[in-house]
């Protein structure tokens, strides 16, 4: 196990409930979620031994000092990877290890850049763990263009593969039992992508695959953090999230092949405060189209290699559409992802190249999503996302057939 840097000024050796805040260079933001975590633990978990943990990547911007300086009435622990070791997943791994040593019953994790967190979030994400639930995913309103990887890949794929509707499988804010933390710590599917941004989808997928009791915590307020334009650089996050989904499809194939359709997941937290509308997210549609076109120039040979001939032929049609008539149909998108999953398993191309070649197609699909939903209210856009999931479910026999026995 990798070394860690631990600062435990109050010598906490046992805890019932832990709130973890993973970070990397979040000195300007971490004080607020730290304070809200403290307030939530004090207000809703009286009588429990509680602690707030900052799990960091040896930030160089004094994140640690900002964490320890934040208003906080419960004990704090700082744990970090050694300098040079990055990755959100590595932070979580340190958290799994720490909460195991502390013997915690429940663990809540919230993002360090959250601006909309309230003490009630801590309650909603933590309280179900004191009953029978093992994993709590967040459920909040997001702008229709916030979370496009969730809407177009992570949600429809995990839903149709594992049969559970968890609307925010990579939401960043979670609750899980201490028992599940120990399970995560030892699971053999951990890899380099999981150690980075693949961690969220890995935790959610394992909870679904191993039939841990899952609920969704309705958080009332929208998630407000640093918004991202989907046309902006995806960086390695896209590869790590999608790569983790594809990676887990291999060992879990005997399970997901048998899954038909999907079932709703329980919701906790109705009535915990007023529901607020999320702030707008601006999308540069010209940039989305440009990235799709550039991808077509660069990756056409890779697409021909990775996709089934019928899928590739349909994609060629899409490439010929005029910009004003551009559309990336949902059934084609489902087949593209299914074909790519098979190609990933078979190593038709180097995996990094394969996932890089998928990114422009994702931009094309996102552009189509934006155009289809631009006149829609949030509720209508949600219905559109749900309908998209049904198309993925309808197309699943194609995946099962292509995957083979």
């Amino acid at each position: 196990m990798a070394d860690w840097i631990l600062e435990n000024p109050e010598n906490v050796s046992e805890a019932d409930i832990v709130v973890g805040i993973p970070s990397y260079n979040e000195a300007d933001a971490i004080a607020f979620p730290t304070q809200q975590a403290s307030l939530g633990l004090q207000e809703y978990f009286k009588g429990y031994r509680t602690v707030v943990v900052n799990c960091d990547n040896a930030s160089t911007d004094n994140t640690k000092d900002a964490f320890f300086s934040a208003p906080c009435e419960v004990p704090r622990i700082y744990v970090s990877t050694p300098p040079g070791v990055k990755g959100k997943g590595n932070n979580f791994r340190n958290l799994f290890r720490l909460v195991t040593e502390l013997g915690a019953q429940a663990v809540v994790v919230v993002d360090a850049d959250l601006k909309s967190i309230t003490p009630r979030w801590i309650r909603a994400l933590g309280e179900p763990l004191l009953d029978d639930f093992g994993f709590v995913a967040p459920l909040y309103l997001r702008h229709k263009y916030d979370g496009t990887i969730t809407n177009n890949i992570a949600y429809p794929l995990t839903r149709c593969l594992y049969g559970r509707r968890v609307r925010q499988p990579i939401g960043g804010d979670f609750g899980f039992s201490g028992e599940l933390a120990r399970f995560y710590l030892e699971h053999e599917t951990w890899n380099d992508d999981v150690a980075q941004f693949g961690i969220d989808i890995w935790m959610t997928t394992l909870a679904m695959y191993f039939r841990k009791p899952i609920t969704q915590a309705f958080l009332g307020r929208p998630k407000i953090h640093r918004p991202k334009d989907p046309a902006a650089s995806l960086g390695p996050m896209f590869r790590q999230v999608v790569g983790t989904i594809f990676h887990l499809m291999e060992p879990f194939a005997p399970f997901w092949r048998e899954v038909r359709r999907s079932r709703p997941t329980a919701i906790f937290g109705f009535g915990l405060g007023e529901t607020e509308q999320p702030p707008p997210v601006n999308v540069n549609v010209d940039a989305l189209y440009q990235k799709f076109r550039e991808g077509a120039d660069r990756y056409d040979a890779a697409w021909k290699e990775a996709l089934a001939p019928a899928t590739y032929a349909k994609l060629a049609e899409v490439q010929e559409l005029e910009p004003t008539h551009f559309e990336f149909p949902i059934p084609l998108w489902a087949h593209v992802l299914y074909d790519m999953a098979v190609a990933h398993r078979d190593r038709v191309l180097p995996r990094k190249e394969l996932l890089d070649s998928l990114a422009p197609l994702y931009f094309g699909r996102t552009l189509s999503f934006v155009r289809s939903t631009e006149g829609m209210a949030l509720r209508q856009a949600e219905e559109y996302v749900e309908d998209q999931c049904l198309v993925f479910e309808d197309a699943k026999p194609y995946l099962v057939e292509r995957w083979g026995a």
């Binding site: 969704q216 329980a266 109705f270």
Partner: protein, 122 residues
């Protein structure tokens, strides 16, 4: 064929659904209220529930919560004259949401999908 429990306060809807679904070979029980839903589910043991939302004496969304609290894996299809409740977060707990129509094609399709839903268990 399946055992289907219908909960709707409009008599002509209950009659229409009952006749059409019985024609398809299903066994149907129709209730005009969602009150005491737990007892009715325990006695009829349905494979799927078709639940109206806006009823005179009780909200279908509250009835849905009662069903979920007690019978977590029982498929429930919300069936309403209003599409607007689809935006209510409580409706997420249903398997499907269908807007009422005299053409039951969509409802029958959702019943079929709800019945074929399967997640392997240990």
């Amino acid at each position: 064929m399946a055992r289907i429990l219908i909960v709707d306060d409009e008599e002509h809807i209950r009659t229409l659904y009952t006749l059409e679904l019985e024609d398809e070979g299903h066994e149907v029980c129709a209730l005009e209220t969602g009150r005491n839903i737990v007892e009715h589910v325990e006695s009829f043991r349905p494979d799927v529930v078709i639940l109206d939302i806006k009823m005179v004496d009780v909200s279908g969304l509250d009835v849905l919560q009662e069903i979920r609290n007690r019978f977590y894996d029982l498929p429930v299809i919300l069936c309403s004259a209003y599409g607007s409740y689809k935006g209510d977060i409580k409706s997420v707990a249903a398997d499907y949401y269908v807007v009422k129509s005299s053409d039951l094609t969509e409802l029958k399709r959702k019943i079929q999908q709800a019945l074929e839903a399967r997640i392997p268990q240990d």
